[in-house]
Symmetry: C2
Amino acid sequence: MIQVIKIGGGILENEAQRNAFLRQFAAVAGPKVLVHGGGRLATTMAERLGVETQMIDGRRVTDKETLNIVTMVYGGLVNKQVVAQLQTMGVNAIGLTGVDGGWMKSVKRPIKNGIDYGYVGDVIEVNGAHLRILLDKGLTPVIAPITYSAEGLLLNTNADTVASQTAISLAPDVQLTFCFEKEGVLSNPDEESSVIAKITPKSYTQLKADGIVSGGMIPKIDNAFAAIEHGVQSVRITHASNLQGGTIIVE
Amino acid sequence: MIQVIKIGGGILENEAQRNAFLRQFAAVAGPKVLVHGGGRLATTMAERLGVETQMIDGRRVTDKETLNIVTMVYGGLVNKQVVAQLQTMGVNAIGLTGVDGGWMKSVKRPIKNGIDYGYVGDVIEVNGAHLRILLDKGLTPVIAPITYSAEGLLLNTNADTVASQTAISLAPDVQLTFCFEKEGVLSNPDEESSVIAKITPKSYTQLKADGIVSGGMIPKIDNAFAAIEHGVQSVRITHASNLQGGTIIVE
């Protein structure tokens, strides 16, 4: 069983949380893959460089200069720091973006309704065999969310999507974990102890009908079910400090 | 025969020269490795970020912030751009620093005569087997000159050294090529057509005695002979636009 674990950039920015998370990740047995975001580090770097971050509907617009910053910060700084730290913990990590080994291809998102997100990639092709080669050699891929197009454009890509697509490419013997800053899917958003232990398609329909699951959690869970439909065994949504806990989503 | 080719950052900064070089590199038959520098891009980025570049005897002092810049620019931006471009040329490139797969370890250069170069690495251990695994799978490693210490420090490392050490780790069936902005080792520094086609230990002694080879060329050639003493078959010093030309250094 391969574990694909996605960690948000927010956790990585905080040294204590990052160390705690990476120690847990290092302790996960068997073949594993880490997918990371970059969080506010790219925004901070853009500010320092005097590059304005343009947002449309809460999404960053990736102009050429922002793309370069994202490539530097996610693909260079964050990725190599995580790899170095994992190496000291005995994990033979190898940093990758989608272009390294040409394993995750995308297309530049088309302009729609007049909205141009710029250098953003929508994943179209994933070569899980490339990751398997590395995993078979005892390596642990650490993936920054940058993909590339047939024309050789680097493209900024949603890290949750990169994680799902990675897991799907390794199906069926794979489990996917999304780590974030809550304990899991909560039945009461103000109560961290109200974690829903397990969600199935049936219970999900009910949870939505009852208004217990709503807002930003819906695309996350939809995404999880999509991964399961494509052969991923289970998807876990949990706090970064509790890799075995949280909510498990199964068929 | 494995080809290890080192390209300076200067060539990569110029789009026309970079394209021409990469096309030549793509055409090299058989297993190959590219080692690149980052040139003035890191200095430019440091200037934009208001980080002062401190130099001692013409060498950059790598403080913590400069290290982050070097990691971003060489390990992120330059590396991924080159990999993407090679992918479009049909080369299955994979970007690496020394920490990816833990294959090139170094120690932080000790303070000597009161001079502290900061986060600079002196290579101590190279695992050629890691590169061979990738090469055997048809991958072409593209290496940024960053190594790491046992403590998990990323360390800025001389790209010529990274290239030599890479070639040595793959010896004996390996040839090393240093590309730079001259046609080769010249017998008359003002005359690009005065390339010395071949240098042996014996002819090198004579060239030095006659004052034909001097200055900055001496450490370059010494470095080449060191690689040969460690089993590398030959070392070529040539212009980036002429991978088959220049000066060849053999035992």
